[in-house]
Symmetry: D2
Subunit: 501 residues, 4 copies
């Protein structure tokens, strides 16, 4: 445990910050308490919203390329702290080392991307129909942004949002998941160090953190001083947050549940498919928003695919995620384990056949850790339980006979985050990507549904929320657009050829 | 009345369509009933939603440039019907002839703009961090779009939405205001004629109309089969619609209230300002979303400005909007008149001084028409009533002493639609357009807040709703975006340099 | 012949315009003289350049959306004249009816596309690194544009260039090929009618035509008053025009020779490939810039492909292009025929085997028409003659063994216009489209190299010239860009943090 | 001199690299020889072009975001070496310390900008008019890029070009000015260090340097293996390079002469104008491409402006650029001095009156340094000599009477690089920026013509060359564009509705 203390200290978290608080943080590895963190009080949240509002008045006036310099420094800090942050992510939410590091790397990547954006943030100049007039649109800073994240990407999702928000001229208030406070803090501290290096060009209150539960998140969601709420979590959460923010005319970025599928056709490279399935169904113990949950496979290759997949599942090393060679770490907590059991039981009631896994593992070694053997359940059809998102390493297999049927099954769930096809047949692939194909926000070919890059827009349709983070033009959500028509003539012509008076 | 019948007939509205229905349509000119239109039943609405969903399955597969051809034909029909549609708008909602024609012209303009878009609708191709991979984003059709419009732009707002929706691959369901059914029908019939010319490439149910009241609109708002609801109206309406649509993870375009101001500085060309004020405060009898409602004028030029403005107000011709020379037609109904009276009375209580207008006009000539003399009320400060949108020709005047104060007053209202400054001082003008300036979706220079062109994004921030219509990239709201990563290598590298297994 | 006169008259070409001139226009169908057109004198060219320069001073001030209205009217005229223009193209350059109509349709399409552009022509607004500053870029009209076209697209290429130029604010001077003056005139007259309808918003000299030979073209190329020369033709021509324009710091759009290939892999749909080969190798008698000239086919499917292709070639109907059912019309003139014979003879010397065609056809029926049976020549390797562009229906077949070799052969020619692959194998297809694949400006999948749509950028790399026409952002070449930094503060900070004084 | 050695060593330039060579490098400060550098032989240039071509085969396959990592490392190296590179620039070309540092900072800035681009390089996805088809455009690496720079930005211009080229997938060959070899080497060595850190992902020959004179540059210009030549220098040079590159169908980026003006109107803040004139006319001893050369001032404020400007000129500290407080360093060599004298003499002949300066300074202290007092010459009109670019601190003053005249004078020179206006009058400012205003590639407001930021496109029109570097979409010139139409249907429809066969 002294390793924990020294890593945290390198991350800038002082011993006194993790002692004596009311919020206990446990490692899913063995259930041991890692820290007791002080929770922010409701009154403090109010104060910190007020401070954020003030900070906005200044920050919006700092030129965007200068704001970019802050984000560059943050990226620099994250690069140096990558190993430590990765380690904290692993110990706090159970990711294997490689994935912990990968998550920290996403922070580095988004900072570099945002640095580039800091000289772009382009609106358009537009020709006017009136002589002596011109039109342009500008994007201006929006105001304080609340970033409410989930346990499963405790570092990267904050970085995704904050790097863009800061470059766009918006202060941030970060509310990490109660289950992943240390990872959140470690990432936040790196930002604080960057702010310190950046000096007095950054107003006080530019980046603040709220530690605690849902009631504090709710204060952020309801505050009219916060024009944008970015919230990652369950569809259930989104169904509450969306209307609340809408009722006060706020904006939101919702990243909610996925029920991501892979279509495997007879033209697939099955070996590649197997490797992709492993990473995306089993990685992070199936607890990514983009984890693979449904395998829609052509009946003609189903047995061949399973013939390769089941042995691969059988050889998966489950265990302490910090141990080299481990591929499957623990579930986040018992509740996740119970939900998984419930899903498997329900699937069986609905005709499913468990091909492998589902049982608890390593109970002796880690009586308070919730390890599970990744499960594959073959379903006779896409029943009700398959349409739900179960957050764990549970993969449903459904056979299809013709391609249109595969697409129909694929789209017949309420979520719309990520999807993929394995096929080397151009027509199948393009059909999957077309207007008549996958209805998800992300549709991939010959890679799994997980593992998006920073440069593309990340997010999904339908009950996934409809919003986007990260690349492409996702930054526009963090700004307000203004359309400007400038008349520099001495006349006052009206549009649409109207004359008046 | 026979002129009405013949115009409507040229618009494609048969006599039997406007007789014997349960919904009476009255002209605000004299209160006379123009038509009795049959209302759509709730069951019919259900059927028509189902048909729209089916139509979508086909329409999304029609190539966008071919869809553009339909919109071109619609533009062609609107161009030919421009005079008639303008006339119907005038008689049904009281706009003067020029404005009725201007509104019809907006339909023509948006069709041409959408025709151009039909070969654009660009996503991005994006470089991947992995060898043998590429990323792209595509925009695909979204699904049925409900377009719920207000009485004050009974033709153009439908055209704005439908032209984009149709080009984007979405069927439309149009619910015009109960107060402007004929204008809506006339515009819709032009679309039907275009569809007929377009032939069988258009599926049945591509464009449908719902006639009736708020309860029918609510069915559209609540239907999970309608992924996008575009609604124009009051902030009160938006406060209901927004959360409803959010709760079912739908998308929305809200165009709600404005409280649009003009800042007049000592560097303004006062004569130009006066002309702009006239058109934007008095045009459409102050019943545009973008009507000018607040005049924030430097104390040093206030008297000079009013010295020019009051005589101009005094000479305004109020009367039958179809009569040449009329500049101010009637309010839409008595309720609008009462609201105006209430606002003036409240303003007086709050220290306001009526400089001109507010009284009923032409009562003798049109006992059932609600004409009013446009009012100017000078306020000692921006009191509570000034912060409210009153839909009529009521202009508050507030003096300021320094420029920062003008901006502060300007932004200190809950709405955020349109705004403008009159000044020839570059620094003032640019400050008004800057991040620290107007917080509205539209900020103009030396033109009034009204009269946006098709090419720019139209819409506002804060309680105006935050969404955009018409030009720039507003079309993206009518589509779903999909981010595609294609692996064409034989390897399966992961992003962020992760290795797995 | 009276049909000719009446068609030309409907096109707006008066009988006196085609009589008594020094330039004889012959139909390739039978060699008969169609017209004798007056040639522009060198002095007239000077005068008309001067007039164009003057017209520019006015036209650049007409708002772009208003300029768009002119182009809309032109599109309207072209739509109405489509059948006639198509017919003139057929009779004058020998295209079959369908292709003549297709060419006229391109004019309609580009006018609609340009109409859409007329409200776009977007530059960017850019954030500045200095407080109180902003940056934007605007695109402004450039000046007179000379459009020098070739005989093979006598109508469309002028429309492509002129529609964009006019919308961008540039007057045009059109120099059609001496071999296709009537088609050029017919297209130009439609523009003149549009200008007449447009009225006095168009300055005199906005669109002008020069009739005559290369020496007149040279005057345009050399004139410093013409900032942009768009020239379509041979690489030989481009090698002269490019340096000439560069030496006077003009801009140019060169669309020069192509040597377009199709790669057919074992994963191809051979029936589709055969149909694509027919249209692209034989259509327009092989006289399109994008005609298919090289067939690079996997050795394993070569026989199967030829087994389908040769019978199809055998059944091709050669004849009068205006006769229904004809697929192959005449070559443009004897010189073209001789060049073809020379190429075939040389190919034989270099090891080639003529599989079919090459011989003159219909000599009896049309002693002065140069018809030829489309030829297929199998080559043992890509020899010198294969690297040259021969403008006629001559297709070289080269076998390859592995895919990388196919790409290497494909790229090993000096031209870089268009290319395609027939394959349903995703990896092959994507490799062909990748950075390591085809080096052409256009690379297609499962369609031939011909037949680009208006929406994409058209043009090629290497000796094809490197420039682009038509869609995407090709319009930018017709404008000048200006980067504007506006300081609205009272300070004068320097970029890069420099302090001075 | 030992300071020189140690700085160069810190820059990675070994003592043996600067001894015994045939190319002598002198400091303009005192004419002392700083180094004798070995020149590249013609044979070596051939070899290095061949190596660059090979390197391209590999580098184009390295994913762009990975290429971005190399540029990030270069930026990192430049940041650390900023002080040293700035110092070398100062001693080698005579810039004052602040400007030397500013130049090095541009290298840092462009690396960050290019890093951001490395995940963008966006083409478009485009909707097709044919069912079952889609279109996209991709930008692919182009090939080796030659970067030929001038003495006056010996570090930044290479960085501008190389950072973009490398991110775009192109190897670079750098030919610095013979007068600024050490600055070039110092910047290049930083790139070499970055490449070393980047490791074996960079092919050999990715970045190479050619030391020597014009004949070596010519080899680069003429080589068909180099698809893009970026050359900065005089219009005379461009008139040779442009046609040469065009004759082999290469692409070029020419950044040639400017004759940059400032318009000062009665609405200008004269104090700001004076400061801007000082920096832009006198900074870098008037040897920037963007130096201010013409002052077009309203007759009514001319005396007031000169009344402020002349005393400011009088107090300028001329001297060793490395001494704190110096604002004006030496000219690059005697030839520059002579050219300046010639221009002043000619101006006098053409009616000019020297208001101040022009005489040699510090001759005693630096007998071999060519210092000059910055000159202001009032001209009765814009005579021939004013239309020429004289590279030194010589400012012509021309009075105007009305605004249109100012614009006419402004544009009546053959060059078109940069320009500015000082005015707080919105109409004047916008007119200057409009289609009828400045015809330069850059047009600024209330800042001088110098000092562009990285984010905007840099470059000019007319004899300045017409090309762009640095920001906006300048990167596109370093890539080739490919338009891809993909047919994934089983049909083969043609565009424009053509049917064939």
């Amino acid at each position: 445990m002294s390793e924990l203390l020294s890593v945290l200290q390198r991350c800038g978290i002082a011993p006194e910050e993790i002692e004596g608080g009311t919020l206990g943080v446990r490692s899913p590895i063995d259930g041991a308490e890692l820290a007791r963190v002080r929770e922010t009080t409701p009154g403090e949240v109010d104060a910190l919203i007020a401070k954020s509002k003030e900070a906005f008045q200044q920050w919006r006036l700092v030129p965007a390329p200068v704001r970019g310099e802050l984000v560059r420094l943050w990226g620099d800090e994250l690069r140096h702290a990558k190993r430590d942050i990765g380690w904290v992510v692993s110990i706090e939410v159970g990711k294997i080392t490689e994935e912990g590091l990968g998550e920290a790397q996403e922070g580095v990547d988004i900072c570099e991307f945002a640095l580039g954006l800091s000289r772009q943030l382009h609106g358009k100049t537009i020709v006017s129909e009136r002589p002596g007039h011109r039109i342009m649109e500008q994007y201006h800073p929006l105001g304080p942004v609340a970033v409410i994240t989930a346990f499963n990407f405790p570092s990267a999702v904050f970085a995704w949002n904050a790097a863009l928000a800061l470059v766009c001229g918006d202060p941030v208030i970060f509310k990490p998941s109660e289950k992943a406070v240390l990872s959140g803090l470690a990432t936040f501290k790196a930002l604080e160090r960057a702010i310190a290096r950046f000096g007095d060009r950054a107003p006080e209150g530019l980046a603040q953190i709220v530690i605690g539960g849902a009631s504090l998140a709710e204060k952020l969601v309801d505050s009219p001083a916060i024009p944008l709420v970015s919230a990652t979590g369950s569809t259930r959460m989104g169904r509450i947050v969306g209307p609340k923010v809408a009722s006060r005319f706020g904006k939101r970025i919702l990243e909610l549940g996925g029920n991501n599928a892979m279509v495997v056709t007879p033209a697939a490279d099955l070996d590649m498919a197997v490797r992709a399935i492993l990473f995306s169904a089993v990685g992070t113990a199936g607890q990514r928003c983009t984890s693979l949950r449904r395998l829609i496979v052509h009946r003609g290759v189903k047995d061949a695919l399973l013939g390769k997949l089941l042995p691969a599942y059988a050889s998966l090393r489950i265990g302490n995620p910090l141990t080299a060679g481990t591929l499957v770490g623990p579930l986040i907590d018992q509740r996740a384990f119970d939900a998984l059991q419930h899903a498997i039981a329900t699937a069986k009631e609905q005709g499913g056949k468990v091909l492998t896994g589902g049982e608890r593992a390593l109970e002796d070694e880690f009586p308070n850790g919730w390890y599970v053997r990744p499960a594959i359940v073959e379903m006779p059809a896409q029943t009700a339980i398959v349409r739900e998102e179960t957050f764990g390493p549970l993969l449903y297999v459904i056979a299809y006979d013709d391609f249109d049927e595969a697409i129909a099954i694929h789209n017949d769930v309420p979520q719309g985050l990520s999807s993929c096809i394995f096929s080397n047949d151009l027509r199948e692939v393009e059909a999957f990507l077309s207007a008549a194909g996958s209805d998800c926000g992300m549709a991939n070919v010959n890679i799994g549904p997980s593992g998006a890059e920073i440069g593309g827009a990340f997010g999904g349709e339908k009950e996934t929320g409809g919003d986007r983070e990260s690349g492409s033009d996702a930054w526009k959500q963090y700004m307000r657009r203004t359309t400007n028509t400038i008349n520099f003539s001495k006349d006052l012509p009206l549009a649409q050829g109207i004359t008046f008076g």
